[in-house]
């Protein structure tokens, strides 16, 4: 692996300096953050226009109309798109003709609204109604007769475990869940997995049994709770009646379910956000770079130097700001 050129090493230094500038926003809004912010916005705008031209305008317009690569659509149709674009430009440039701009906007807004109606009707509404209107009875998987993919879905199970179970039951049907879990052909790791997943609330014992038609009591309760939560939350979104009396009670229960859901989602996100900060620390400490390069970048040293520089800069800026404020107060006399 050849050595990293100097230009890139300086690049990493600039990257670390910008990282500290952005972090200084936590202290307060300061010149270093403003610099990083405007630099970041400028670069991103340039990046976007280059990409949009390369990916949308060039192939779809220049390519389609001038090089005749219009896939499917005849290039005449593509000219209409050009006309719509011009009308949109006229709206911004020539205020007097700005009503022309309404044609492309009307097309875009209505067309996308139409597409979204069906996409939402199918994936959000139809699919969710279909799955909510399902059977709430939770029947335990019968280890002796269930197909392979039902066995895979069991807690602690996997593709390999499932095939082994099928082979085992062919020789000798299972007598109990314990019997199935301790069969010889399972490896120690698989046995540990299965053992770890036992439990009659949501564990293996709740989901699986020997013999047909056994019900998972906690599963049924959970399904009922889910249905109750769903219906009461829907009542919360009901606009036509004031939330008082019985309706008020149900919608209050609905809000509680929503709040538990939001709390769970918040708790999940905390973990995600922290891992971002960890990732950032990794980059600055040079752990996501080839070790040979990391030695030449000296990430931690540059980070400390940047922190010192920016801290001093902010201190200076604050003293000057206080002095200016002081002068203004002084010049205006004791206000």
């Amino acid at each position: 692996m050849t050595a990293l050129p100097w230009v890139d090493i300086v690049g990493y230094w600039i990257g670390i300096f910008l990282t500290i500038c952005c972090l200084s926003f936590l202290y307060k809004d300061n010149p270093f953050y403003k610099l990083a912010e405007h630099l970041f916005i400028g670069v991103s705008v340039g990046y976007l226009i280059v990409l949009q031209y390369g990916d949308n305008i060039e192939p779809k317009v220049v390519g389609a109309v001038f090089r005749g690569e219009a896939d499917g659509g005849w290039w005449v149709l593509r000219l209409v798109a050009l006309v719509l674009v011009l009308m949109m430009f006229v709206k911004v440039v020539v205020p007097r003709w700005s009503w022309l701009g309404r044609y492309p906007l009307a097309f875009v807004v209505a067309f996308y609204a139409g597409l979204q109606i069906n996409a939402v009707a199918q994936a959000e509404l139809g699919a969710q109604i279909k799955f909510s209107a399902g059977n709430i009875d939770a029947v335990k998987v019968d280890l002796n007769t269930a197909p392979v993919d039902a066995l895979i879905a069991l807690p602690g199970s996997s593709g390999l475990v499932a095939t082994k179970l099928v082979a085992e039951r062919a020789q000798r049907p299972f007598v109990s869940v314990d019997d199935a879990v301790t069969r010889p052909s399972l490896t120690d790791l698989e046995r540990a997995d299965l053992a770890g997943a036992r439990g009659n609330l949501i564990g293996l014992d709740a989901k699986a049994a020997v013999g047909p038609g056994q019900h998972d009591a906690f599963g049924i309760v959970s399904n009922l709770l889910l249905l109750a939560g769903l219906l009461s939350s829907l009542v919360y979104f009901y606009f036509s009646i004031a939330h008082r009396g019985v309706i008020g009670g149900v919608s209050r229960f609905g809000v509680w379910v929503l709040m538990i859901g939001f709390g769970a989602s918040f708790g999940l996100t905390v973990q995600g956000r922290i891992s971002l900060a960890i990732g950032r620390a990794y980059d600055v400490l040079g752990r996501t770079v080839d070790p040979a390069d990391a030695d030449r970048i000296h990430g931690p040293v540059v980070a400390v130097v940047s922190i010192a520089l920016i801290a001093a800069g902010i201190a200076l800026w604050e003293r000057r700001a206080r002095r200016d404020a002081g002068d203004q107060a002084g010049s205006r006399g004791q206000s």
Binding site: C22, F25, D29, K34, A36, E37, F40, I41, V43, S44, V45, Y47, L48, M88, K91, V92, G101, R102, L105, V108, V109, Y112, A113, L115, Q116, I117, N118, V120, A121, Q122, L125, G126, A127, I129, K130, F131, S132, A133, G134, N135, I136, D137, L227, L230, L231, L234, F237, Y238, F239, S240, I241, A242, H243, L258, F262, G263, S265, F266, T269, R273
Partner: protein, 453 residues
Amino acid sequence: MTRALLLAVLALVTVGSAAAQPTPSAPTPVVPLPPDLRPPSRAPDPGPPPVAPPLAGVTDLDVRVPDNDNGRHFAIRFTRAADVGEDVVTAVFRRRWGQVAATAVFPTMLGPADATPRTWSVEFAGPTPPPLGALAAGDEVGPWQVAEVLAGGETTLTDEVPPGQYEYVVVELRRGPGDTIVAASAGAVIGPRATEASWFNTDRTGYLGIVLLIAGFIGWYVWETRKGKALYVRRLPGVDAIEDSIGRSTEMGRPVLYVTGLEEIQNIQTIASLLILGHVAEKTAEYDTDLTVANYYPLTMVVAEEVVRQGYANAGRIDAHRPERCLFITAEQFAFAAGVSGIILRDRPATNIYFGSFFGESLLLAETGFTTGAVQIAGTAELTQLPFFITACDYTLIGEELYAASAYLTREPTLLANLKAADAFKILAMLFIVIGVALATAGVFDLGPWAFR
């Protein structure tokens, strides 16, 4: 040797197949050919040495247009012989029906039922020898084209073809060493079949039902409002706060910031946000407060500017409209968040309104807004960001409340009718679910999968 063998394949077609084979779909009349077109019967040329014992061919060949097809597919089904070997593949050939071959006299596979099997001849197969080795989809064999070579023992195939009429021949081929073909069965023939594009996808009736039901309810309630019936809707604190906080911003002489979310016009939440922006602009025009609109996509900025202009025009203050206050920041998530944080900290707006779809940066905007003491009203249907808005903002419109905000702000009868329609459908949906659960649990009938395939 194998070259001749394959050429023989398409000739060794049981000529009588058309008569014997019952065409399950509409019985296409076999058009007897006028005499002059029938090929001159010639003694079969000496031809290839004796062929290996023929394989058992496929039976019950059926080609039909699949349901809800877009007019470019055929569903081909056949049954293979029971004892067919592992090394036997099924080759499906197709040919456009009715296309008279340029040079050769038009021979038909469906000629009269003379007993002697037709042997392959140059006029019939056309000048170019077929590629014997790797027979792959799309190869030409005389006038015939290989639709697919099924090596995995499949017995069904969906063939994609340009619209038109086609004939199909399905043949079993035994592959010898080095991908050559050592034996071939008699070909089962079927045709002509025409592609049909269906005009309605029956699988999606459930979804069409939803859309028509909601449209019907909207129409019904709009008609109700035309009859002057007052519609009651419960209070929505988030929306009441909008008008109060705009008033508060006017008193404090600080601007109102409106962020239209991080999605293009492609997303319905952005469209809803822009509709609300129009009504908010009307209010800021009345109260004569500065309105700053931060947009993520340029196209959204263009529509936002048009909507704000309309708001100011409705309030009769078109002169006060400043188009440069509709900003396109940038279309990069965190550069946008940095830019809007900058606006929040430096312009110090008294009201921050975040309507539309937001992602990770929602918490950054909300926390920055909190430090400046602004009243923050958020509204989105993004499930992942609602917890942040609920914790960090003063008021939050959850999911459907965002779409209802326009109606609440304007209290316009037609928009209130929309709310009533949504409520009516909600009752229907709840009933559907409860009935569905009851039926499914009782094991009587699965309502869900029946309605929504």
